[in-house]
C-alpha cells in the first residue's frame, strides 16, 4: 500500500506539472509555430568546411547567372563575376551558357514547387519538400557534370579553386 501511495504521489506530482503546461486553455495549441531552435545553423564565416559543395555551387550559380532578358547593368555584373575566375574565352562562354540553362531550369523548378505549396497550404497539407530538395540538388549536380564536359580541365580547376582554396595568398 505504501508503495502504491508513493507511486501515486509521484505520478500526481508529475501530472500537476503536465496540467500546468497544458492549462489554460483546455485545448492545447503550440505557442510558437516555428521551431527555430531545432534547425541547425551553419555560419559559413566560421565553419565554411561544413557547407556542402552542392550548396556552395548552387548559391554561386544562382548569384552569378543572368536572368531572362537582362538589363545592360545585369550583363556587366555577370561578366564581371565571370571575369574573376579568369577563364579563357571558350571556357567562359561555356560557363555562361551552362549558367543560363541552369537559371531557366531552376526558376521553373521553383515555380512548379511553389504551385504545389499554394495548393497544399489551402488543403492543410505539407508540400513535398524533400522531393523538391532532391530535384534541386540533382539540377546543381547535373550542371556541374555538364561543366566538366564543356570546360577544359584547367578551366574546371580554376572554377573548383574558387570553392576549395579561397585564400589567394
Amino acid at each position: 500500500m505504501k508503495r502504491l501511495l508513493l507511486l501515486t504521489s509521484l505520478l500526481l506530482a508529475f501530472e500537476v506539472g503536465a496540467f500546468a503546461q497544458m492549462l489554460p486553455p483546455d485545448i492545447s495549441m503550440p505557442e510558437n509555430m516555428h521551431a527555430a531552435a531545432s534547425v541547425p545553423v551553419i555560419d559559413g564565416s566560421l565553419n565554411p568546411e561544413l557547407i556542402p559543395d552542392s550548396t556552395a555551387y548552387r548559391l554561386f550559380f544562382v548569384s552569378v547567372a543572368e536572368g531572362a532578358n537582362p538589363a545592360p547593368e545585369e550583363v556587366a555584373r555577370h561578366k564581371s563575376h565571370l571575369a574573376r575566375i579568369q577563364l579563357k574565352d571558350n571556357d567562359g562562354q561555356s560557363l555562361a551558357d551552362a549558367l543560363r540553362t541552369f537559371k531557366q531550369q531552376y526558376d521553373d523548378l521553383i515555380k512548379n514547387y511553389n504551385g504545389t505549396a499554394d495548393v497544399a497550404i489551402l488543403q492543410g497539407e505539407a508540400p513535398d519538400y524533400s522531393g523538391f530538395l532532391r530535384q534541386r540538388d540533382a539540377l546543381v549536380q547535373t550542371t556541374r557534370n555538364q561543366l566538366k564536359l564543356a570546360i577544359s580541365p584547367v578551366g574546371m580547376l580554376k572554377l573548383d579553386a574558387l570553392f576549395r582554396a579561397r585564400s589567394e595568398r
Binding site: 497544458m22 509555430m33 534547425v39 563575376h81 505549396a117
Partner: protein, 252 residues
C-alpha cells in the same frame, strides 16, 4: 485508483505531440570588379519553411477515454506570409530592400546587387545582411556577410591605376576556416608585367621579407602552398599593414 494512474500517464505522454514548422534559409554574398572601376556586390537569400499548417490538438477529460487528440489548423498559418529583406551597402551606397512575400511553404530566391564606382586607390567598405520575416511572429531567419572595413591610401601602389580586387574579410579558406583578413588590390587593366615598378602607397615602418622566387605557374597552383614570395611590408601609424607581394628584386 489504477485507472486514475493510467489516465495520468496517458495525459503526460500525449501532451507533447505538437507539429512544427522549420525555417531553412541560406544567405550568400559575392562580389567582383571590372576594368571600369565598378565594384559589384550581390547578396542572395533563398530557402523555405517546411512543415504543415496543421498540428495535433489534444484535450483532457475526466471521463473515458480521458484524453482525445485530433488534427487542427495552426491559427494564422494559412494566411501568413514570409518576406525576404536584404541590406546591401558598399561605401554608403545601397540599403535595405524587401522582396515579394509568399506563403510560408513557398521557396523564395531573392537577390540584390549594389554597384559603386571606386576611384583608383579607393577602398571598399561592404556591408551585407539578410532577414526573412513571418507576418505572424516576426523574424524567423537572418544572417550577415562581410565585416565592414576599409583603408584608403594617399598614393596608388601601382601605376597607372589600381582597384580593390577583394574586400576585407571577403575570402574564406574553406579548408582551414581562416578569414582572409585583408583587402587585395590589383591594377585596373589586369596586365601588370614582371618588372613593373611598385610604390609605397603611404608612409610607415618598412619591413623587407625574402621568400621563394617568382615561378611561372597558374595562380590556382600557387595558392595555399604555405610559403610566401618576396614582399615589402609597410606598417602605418594605426597598425594597418600593406604588403607589396611578388616583387622580383629587393634593395641591397
Amino acid at each position: 485508483m489504477r485507472k486514475l494512474i493510467l489516465a495520468s500517464l496517458v495525459i503526460c505522454l500525449a501532451g507533447y505531440c505538437w507539429g512544427q514548422m522549420n525555417p531553412q534559409y541560406d544567405g550568400y554574398v559575392t562580389y567582383s570588379s571590372d576594368s571600369s572601376n565598378n565594384f559589384y556586390q550581390t547578396v542572395v537569400v533563398e530557402g523555405t519553411t517546411y512543415g504543415s499548417c496543421n498540428t495535433t490538438c489534444c484535450q483532457g477529460s475526466p471521463y473515458p477515454p480521458y484524453y482525445t487528440c485530433w488534427s487542427c489548423p495552426i491559427p494564422g498559418c494559412a494566411g501568413a506570409t514570409h518576406t525576404p529583406s536584404i541590406e546591401n551597402v558598399v561605401n554608403g551606397v545601397g540599403g535595405w530592400t524587401t522582396g515579394p512575400g509568399s506563403n510560408p511553404f513557398s521557396y523564395m530566391s531573392y537577390q540584390t546587387t549594389t554597384v559603386v564606382s571606386i576611384p583608383p586607390g579607393g577602398g571598399a567598405s561592404p556591408l551585407a545582411e539578410w532577414e526573412v520575416t513571418c507576418s505572424q511572429i516576426g523574424v524567423i531567419g537572418s544572417g550577415n556577410g562581410l565585416t565592414p572595413s576599409s583603408h584608403t591610401y594617399p598614393n596608388p601602389p601601382i601605376s597607372p591605376n589600381c582597384q580593390v580586387r577583394t574586400p576585407f574579410d571577403a575570402i574564406i579558406n574553406k579548408t582551414t576556416g581562416a578569414i582572409h583578413a585583408a583587402q587585395d588590390i590589383r591594377n585596373t587593366t589586369h596586365d601588370i608585367q614582371v618588372g613593373a615598378p611598385v610604390y609605397a602607397p603611404e608612409g610607415g615602418t618598412v619591413h623587407i621579407q625574402s621568400g621563394y622566387p617568382h615561378i611561372n605557374q597558374p595562380v590556382t597552383q600557387c595558392a595555399g602552398q604555405g610559403y610566401h614570395a618576396n614582399y615589402i611590408e609597410i606598417t602605418d601609424g594605426s597598425g594597418n599593414r600593406t604588403r607589396l607581394v611578388h616583387v622580383t628584386a629587393l634593395p641591397g
